[in-house]
Symmetry: C2
Subunit: 415 residues, 2 copies
C-alpha cells in the first residue's frame, strides 16, 4: 500500500477557484447572488462542469438537476465515495456557504490527478440543487428528494415569488437530467462546509469533525389576553399578552441554558396586536424552536415549555396555545465516515473538535440513506447568510486536506 | 334661596337622546362611526344644535368648530358655567364615549327648563372638535388650541389619511365659526364621561369624582444585538435583542407594580427584526409609557427604567437606547370644581370615590386655563374604543344628576 500521508491540496488553487465562482452573480457588498435555477446559477453550474471536464470527470445529471462528476477508480463496481455541497446562494449570500464544499471536492480530484493517484473506489463530486431554499422553499429540497424525504412531484410544483415552478426553471436552464433522482449509487458522502457558527473560531480549532445534526421541535404560539387602555386600566386585572410573552421568552432561554452547551432555544418571529403605543396588547403570536442532538432531551425541553404554557393558561387570564408544527429527529452520522474524518484530522495534526451541526445541510438529508459525515472549518465571527461572510485560506486548506485524506481512506486507499 | 335638592334629571330622556345620536353613523356591531368633520359628524352636530335651539339656547361656533350652546342666567356678565365633551367617535367607537358628556349637559338644561329654574350665572353646553384624534392626530386638538397648548395654524394644517386638512374639512361641513378659539369666556368646565377603565365597576361605585389626570412619560426604545443562526449559535455568546426586550418588558411591569395602584407602565408597540423563525432577532423596537398622578414619582419611574437600559447596555452585548419623546405633567383639577362635584355626589347619596383619570380628556386640556373637574360613571368591563362599549342607564342617570347639582352649585344657586 503506497504512503500518501505527505499529500496536500493546493491552497492557492482552491482559493482562486472560490474567488472565480464568486464573480458569477456578484453581490453588492462582496458576496454573491446566485439563486437556484436562475441564469447566474446556470453560469455557476456551467463553470463547475467545465472545471470537472478538464479533470476528465464524467458528468451525470439527475431529474432534480443534481450534478455528479465522476473520477473512476480501480474497481468501478464499487459505489463511489462522494463529496460536495451546493453552488446556489442566499439573495445576499457569501462566497463560501456551499461553494467551499463543492470546490474542495474538486480540489481533491485535482490534487489526485496531478499526483497520478488512482483510488480503489471511484470518487465523485456532487452539486445539490436549491440547497438554500431562498427561491424555492423549503431548503435542501433536491437532497431531500434524493434521500426520499420529499416527493419529486411536490418538489417540481414549488413556485418562486413570480409563480415560476422549479420544474419549469430546471428545464429552462437545461439542467433537467435523465437519471432518476435517488437512483445514483453512492457509497458514502462527505460534505465540507463553513461552520456558520462561532464555536471553532472562539476555541481556536481549525477543523470540526461533525458527528451529527441537532433534532428540532418547532412551535407556533398564540397568546390571548385583552386589549385595553394603557392609561385607565390599573396594573391589577390587566390581561397583557405581551407581559405573558416576555415570561415565555425568558422561559425558552432558561430551558435552553439548562441544556447547554448543546441545547438551544429561540423565539425568532413575533407579532404584537394591536401594537399601539397606548393600548395594552391583547394578542401576541410568536414562534419557538428548540434544538438538541439527543431526541429524549429535546422532548424534555419541549415538555417543560408546554407545561409552562398550560400552567400559565390555567393560573392567569392570558391563554397560551402552543402548537408543535415540526419535529425533526436528530441525525447521527455514520461511524465509519466520522472515523475517516477523525483519523484524517488527527494524522494531519489540525487542532479539532467533534461537534454537532446546528444548521441543516444536504449531507444531513442524505445521511438518512447513505453513510455520511461532515467537516467544518471556522468562519469569521460565525457570520453566514450575509455578504460579509468570510473564511481564512489556511482554514479552508485544512478542511480540504482533511477531506482529501478521509476520501482516500473511504475509497480503501489506506495510508 | 330656593331648595333644589329634590331636583332630578330624566333618565329615559337622557338614554333616548344617546340612542338617537348613535343612529347617526351607525357602526357594524352596535356602536357608532362619526369621525371628526365627516358628513356623519356634521349630522351629529346639526342634531345637537337642533336640540339646543329647541331649549332656547344661543349657539356660538369658534374657528376650531367648537360649539357653545348658552342658556342665560340672572347675571349674564358672569362667565358661564360650562359642561360638555365631544360627539366625534373612534372608527369602531361606542355610543357613550364623549356623547354622554355632551348630552348629559343638554339633559341638565332640559331639566332646568321644564322646572323653570333660573340660574345666577349662565350655563353652556360645549361640543369640542376632534377629541378622538382618529382622523386628525393628535387627539383633543381643539380643546388643546382653546387652552393654548397647540397653535391654531398647526391644527389647521393637520391632514387625514387622504390628505384633506382639518381647516378644509371644517369649511366643507360649514363649522368654521367666527369667534376666535380660546376667546370664549368660561367660568368653569365640568365634563361627565364613562370611566373607560374597570375601577368603578369592580368596586361597585356609581360615581367617580375625578380630581386630576395622570402625568405621562413616553419613550421610543431601540435594542440592537446581532442576527444569527438559531441552530448554529450556542446560547453563550448570543446577542439576542428579543431576550433583552423580554427583561425590559418585565422591568416596566415591576416598576409600575411598585407604584400601584396609581402607577401604570405599558409596552404597547413592538417590532422584531428580522422576525424569522430560525434567526436570533438582532433588533427590536418598542414603546414604553409610564403614568402617575404625582410628577416626582413619575420621574422616579422613568429614571429607574433609564438606569436599567444604561446598565444592560454597559453589561451585555445588546445596546438599549431609550429616547423620551413626551412628558405630559399631571393635572390637578380645580378644588372649587372638585368640591362642587363631591358635594353633589354626597348629597345625592351615590356610592362614589375620588379618582384619577387614566385617559386624556378635553377637560384635562382646558383645565390648564379654566377651573375644571370631571365626573366618571362605570362602563361595562371598563371597555371603550370598541363598538361593544356599554353603560347602565341608572349609572348615566347618577352621573347626570351629579352634574346637575354641581352646575347649580357653581352657578351660585346654592341649595
Amino acid at each position: 500500500m503506497p504512503d500518501y500521508s505527505g499529500l496536500r491540496i493546493n491552497r492557492q488553487r482552491l482559493w482562486e477557484s472560490i474567488m472565480s465562482m464568486a464573480e458569477i452573480g456578484p453581490g453588492e457588498a462582496g458576496g454573491s447572488r446566485r439563486l437556484a435555477l436562475t441564469d447566474e446559477d446556470k453560469q455557476g453550474r456551467d463553470l463547475f462542469i467545465k472545471w470537472c471536464t478538464e479533470e476528465d470527470c464524467k458528468i451525470t445529471i439527475d431529474d432534480m438537476g443534481n450534478i455528479f462528476a465522476r473520477r473512476n477508480g480501480k474497481d468501478n463496481k464499487l459505489p463511489p465515495i462522494c463529496s460536495g455541497s451546493h453552488l446556489d446562494t442566499q439573495p445576499h449570500g457569501g462566497k463560501f456557504d456551499g461553494i467551499f464544499g463543492v470546490l474542495s471536492a474538486l480540489e481533491v480530484i485535482r490534487t489526485l490527478n496531478e499526483n497520478n493517484i488512482e483510488t480503489n473506489a471511484p470518487l465523485e463530486i456532487v452539486n445539490w440543487t436549491n440547497e438554500e431554499g431562498s427561491r424555492f422553499a423549503p431548503a435542501m429540497i433536491a437532497s431531500g428528494v434524493f434521500a426520499g424525504l420529499f416527493e419529486k412531484k411536490h418538489a417540481y410544483s414549488i413556485t418562486d415569488s413570480e409563480g415560476l415552478s422549479l420544474e419549469q426553471e430546471l428545464n429552462r436552464i437545461h439542467y433537467m437530467g435523465t437519471e432518476i433522482c435517488g437512483d445514483h449509487p453512492m457509497g458514502a458522502l462527505l460534505e465540507a462546509h463553513i461552520e456558520q457558527g462561532p464555536i471553532l473560531e472562539r476555541e481556536h480549532d481549525q477543523v470540526g469533525i461533525v458527528i451529527g445534526g441537532q433534532g428540532q421541535r418547532w412551535f407556533d404560539v398564540n397568546l390571548m389576553g385583552q386589549d385595553s387602555h394603557a392609561g385607565s386600566t390599573p396594573m391589577a386585572g390587566r390581561r397583557d399578552a405581551l407581559v405573558a410573552a416576555a415570561a415565555l421568552i425568558q422561559l425558552v432561554q432558561e430551558i435552553a441554558l439548562s441544556k447547554a452547551p448543546f441545547g438551544v432555544g429561540t423565539v425568532g418571529e413575533m407579532k404584537v396586536v394591536p401594537s399601539s403605543r397606548n393600548t395594552i396588547p391583547g394578542e401576541v403570536f410568536l414562534t419557538v424552536e428548540f434544538r438538541h442532538p439527543d431526541d429524549s432531551i429535546l422532548l424534555t425541553m419541549a415538555n417543560e415549555f408546554i407545561q409552562f404554557c398550560e400552567h400559565t393558561s390555567s393560573k392567569t387570564d392570558v391563554k397560551i396555545k402552543p402548537v408543535e408544527i415540526w419535529h425533526n429527529p436528530p441525525v447521527r452520522f455514520d461511524e465509519m465516515c466520522i472515523d475517516a474524518v477523525d483519523r484524517a484530522a488527527q494524522s494531519l495534526g489540525y487542532k479539532n473538535q467533534k461537534m454537532i451541526s446546528g444548521a441543516g445541510h444536504d449531507a444531513i438529508q442524505v445521511s438518512r440513506k447513505v453513510p455520511s459525515a461532515m467537516i467544518f472549518v471556522p468562519c469569521e465571527a460565525g457570520l453566514s447568510h450575509n455578504e460579509s461572510e468570510n473564511a481564512k485560506p489556511e482554514d479552508l486548506e485544512a478542511g480540504c486536506n482533511v477531506l482529501l485524506h478521509a476520501m482516500l481512506d473511504l475509497a480503501k486507499n489506506h495510508e
